[in-house]
């Protein structure tokens, strides 16, 4: 079975929404331990409390309200020891909110981690987010954290329990990550899922669709995920190589037909599997005169190189190459080409796709920032995201952003035309 592109992937049919707010049972003791550790340290070392509250309101082109939410995030952080590089640091944050549009309410431990600073080594343990890669917006090697795809253009990372280490040696750096348990990405909501339309054999009638059967990797030593990344900097250039052995956080979907009782009548049983994979990646960035060039590519190897197992995704490659230029007294412009390849199912052609991404940001005064992100696929579809942010006062920022999908039905972005929307938010950081 084929895998999806890494950014704005179209959801698999009948994908199940995960409970956003409940961590998997095996993680709860670990999270509680990390939180207790962080809070204990905080009590001892005079922590700093900060936070952010934000209200978001959205209207879609079909008149529906995709979001009407309010969220509060509280964060506690501090250091142990003093100086430029203290002995240790800690941070913990919780998020609580309610979305009246979806009736979702959440209270979750977001991050909770402690870092030990040794001479040339940093070690962080706990629930955290990490970023790997060099390019903008689309990062093929950035696979440590699952994503919150409930609003796919948001694509926010989800913090997961992780042991993370970084070794610094002059212009070289090695990063190691161990992710002991699997956490799936939050899948897109109903409005973002492609319609379920399986090709049925002659004489078969569908009389229902069963809830999806989800096969998540169990918390087991054999399912521990790990990765390594080595970076070398030379002048205004740096290059990194990445290896990861773990799971895709978005499922490969397949379906089975189960007899419904009467002859010729079947129920559809969607199956969601998370593929074990190994990733090899390479990325770089460098300044050539006034232009910064960035590139990133990753190849994912799955356990189905021949494309014969419908429940396992195929090998895939994603490559990004682009550059950034700051127009004097004008916007900063990023232009990137994004190439996707998915190995074919047995006897079929591979999936190939190419997109161009343009990002422009312009600071139009002390209070106002203008930005535009635009993805254009070769199939004629695309997504344009113009936005403006305005700083009302210190820490008080408002944003208005449009998400405009266009293209023919069945094209990469065209199926989401009805999800085009405008979102307005106001946030206060303290």
């Amino acid at each position: 079975m084929r895998a999806h592109a890494l950014l704005l992937r179209r959801p698999r049919p009948a994908a199940a929404l995960h409970d956003r707010h409940t961590p998997p049972a095996p993680l709860r003791p670990a999270l509680a331990l990390v939180a207790a550790l962080a809070l204990g340290l905080a009590a001892a070392q005079g922590p700093q409390l900060s936070g952010r509250t934000e209200a978001v309101f959205g209207v879609a082109v079909d008149g529906s309200l995709p979001v009407a939410s309010a969220e509060l995030e509280l964060r506690l952080d501090g250091e142990v020891g003093s100086g430029f590089f203290p002995d240790a640091a800690y941070a913990a944050s919780v998020r609580a909110g309610h979305d009246a549009a979806t009736s979702a309410t959440w209270l979750e431990l977001d991050e909770a981690h402690a870092t030990l600073f040794l001479t040339d080594v940093d070690i962080t343990v706990g629930k955290q987010r990490r970023s790997w890669g060099s390019t903008d917006g689309v990062n093929p090697v950035d696979v440590l954290n699952p994503r919150d795809l409930s609003f796919p253009p948001g694509n926010e990372k989800i913090a997961v329990p992780m042991l993370y280490g970084a070794v610094h040696a002059g212009d070289a750096r090695v990063q190691l990550a161990v992710v002991p348990t699997f956490t799936a990405s939050r899948l897109p909501g109903e409005a973002w899922r492609a319609p379920l339309a399986p090709a049925l054999p002659p004489g078969v009638t569908l009389v229902g669709v069963l809830p999806p059967e989800v096969h998540e990797p169990a918390a087991d030593i054999g399912n521990v995920q790990f990765g390594a990344r080595a970076t070398l900097a030379a002048g205004a250039f740096d290059v990194s190589a990445t290896y990861f052995n773990g799971y895709r956080t978005e499922p490969t979907a397949s379906a089975k037909l189960l007899p419904a009782g009467a002859p010729g009548q079947f129920r559809l049983q969607p199956v969601l599997d998370y593929d074990r994979m190994q990733l090899l990646g390479l990325d770089f960035s460098g300044a050539i005169g006034p232009v910064v060039v960035r590139g990133e590519a990753a190849y994912e190897f799955t356990s189905d190189p021949e494309g014969t197992d419908p429940e396992v995704g195929n090998h895939s490659l994603q490559a990004v190459l682009g550059g950034e230029y700051a127009i004097p007294s004008g916007p900063r412009v990023v232009l990137q080409g994004i190439f996707d390849y998915t190995a074919p199912d047995a006897g079929e052609d591979p999936d190939l796709a190419f997109k161009v991404m343009t990002v422009m940001t312009h600071q139009a005064g002390a209070r106002t920032n203008l930005d535009l992100a635009w993805m254009q696929s070769l199939d004629g579809s695309g997504l344009a995201m113009p936005g403006v942010t305005y700083t009302f006062a210190d820490g008080v920022v408002g944003e208005a952003k449009a998400y405009v999908f266009y293209g023919a039905d069945g094209s990469e972005f065209g199926d989401w035309k009805d999800n085009s929307q405008v979102r307005v938010s106001v946030g206060y950081s303290f």
Partner: protein, 258 residues
């Protein structure tokens, strides 16, 4: 009766001008712009510095926005800035490293993305984090990038010098007019011109002695439109520590992320 008075006044004026010129000739230590700029360049500079900067931006409507940051620099080749307030940009950092050939490496850290990004150069005229200062105003002037001309010498003496950037400098300005007091050799006022018009005015004040160096406590940059001040930004420098050894790995991505 008026004529003798007028004659006396004229004579007095001529005498005063002559005296002023005579006095100037003796008081003026630097005969031309090159000598003055050489002296400015020769002013002792600390090997390292650490400071807290408070930047207050006053918009056209009179409202203010503030930014607080911690800075560390080593000579003129290494500089790191970390924002400490307001909360929405706290933790963001900016590292500039200048190589021996003059090329600059610029890295930005944005905590929300947990990513250090190498950013494009060539935007010297861009606003420094939404303020009236441009990046080239913050990083300072490399005198070799300008040709200088002494315009006049005022009481003080204060030298008024025109500095015209070379095409290679990448400066966004057409010319600068600096007022440099002889006693401090720190420009106390700088006018920046673009397109033949006055674009900005920098005023430096609060000079104090710290560890044997004369340093400015406050810099005020006014943006000028149609001859009137539209917005202005004041940067105040406190907690200044000079010539204290800084760790070798301070100007690195590792510290930028911290």
């Amino acid at each position: 009766m008026k004529k003798p008075d007028a004659t006396r006044r004229l004579s007095a004026l001529v005498a005063a001008l002559a005296l002023a010129a005579f006095g100037l000739a003796f008081a003026q230590k630097y005969p031309d712009a090159d000598a003055l700029i050489a002296a400015v360049d020769a002013r002792p500079e600390p090997a390292t510095s650490q400071a807290t900067l408070t930047m207050t931006i006053t918009t056209a409507g009179g409202q203010t926005l503030s930014r607080e940051m911690q800075t560390w620099s080593e000579g003129t080749t290494k500089r790191i800035i970390k924002f400490t307030a307001p909360a929405d940009i706290k933790g963001s950092g900016f590292l500039t490293l200048t190589a021996a050939d003059g090329s600059e490496e610029k890295l930005v850290y944005l905590p929300a993305l947990d990513r250090v990004r190498r950013i494009a150069g060539g935007q010297q005229g861009d606003s420094f984090f939404g303020s009236d200062f441009a990046y080239e105003d913050i990083t300072g002037i490399d005198q070799e990038d300008y040709t200088h001309k002494l315009l006049e010498v005022r009481d003080g003496p204060v030298y008024v010098v025109e500095a015209v950037p070379t095409p290679e400098s990448g400066s966004s300005y057409e010319r600068l007019v600096l007022e440099v007091p002889e006693d401090t050799l720190i420009p106390q006022r700088v006018e920046y011109y673009r397109g033949g018009e006055l674009a900005k005015v920098l005023t430096v004040s609060g000079l104090t002695e710290v560890d044997g160096y004369t340093v400015a406590g406050e810099r005020r940059m006014e943006s000028v439109k149609g001859g009137k001040v539209s917005t202005f930004t004041v940067i105040t420098q406190t907690n200044l520590v000079l010539d204290e050894a800084l760790p070798a790995d301070l100007f690195t991505e590792r510290f930028l992320r911290r």
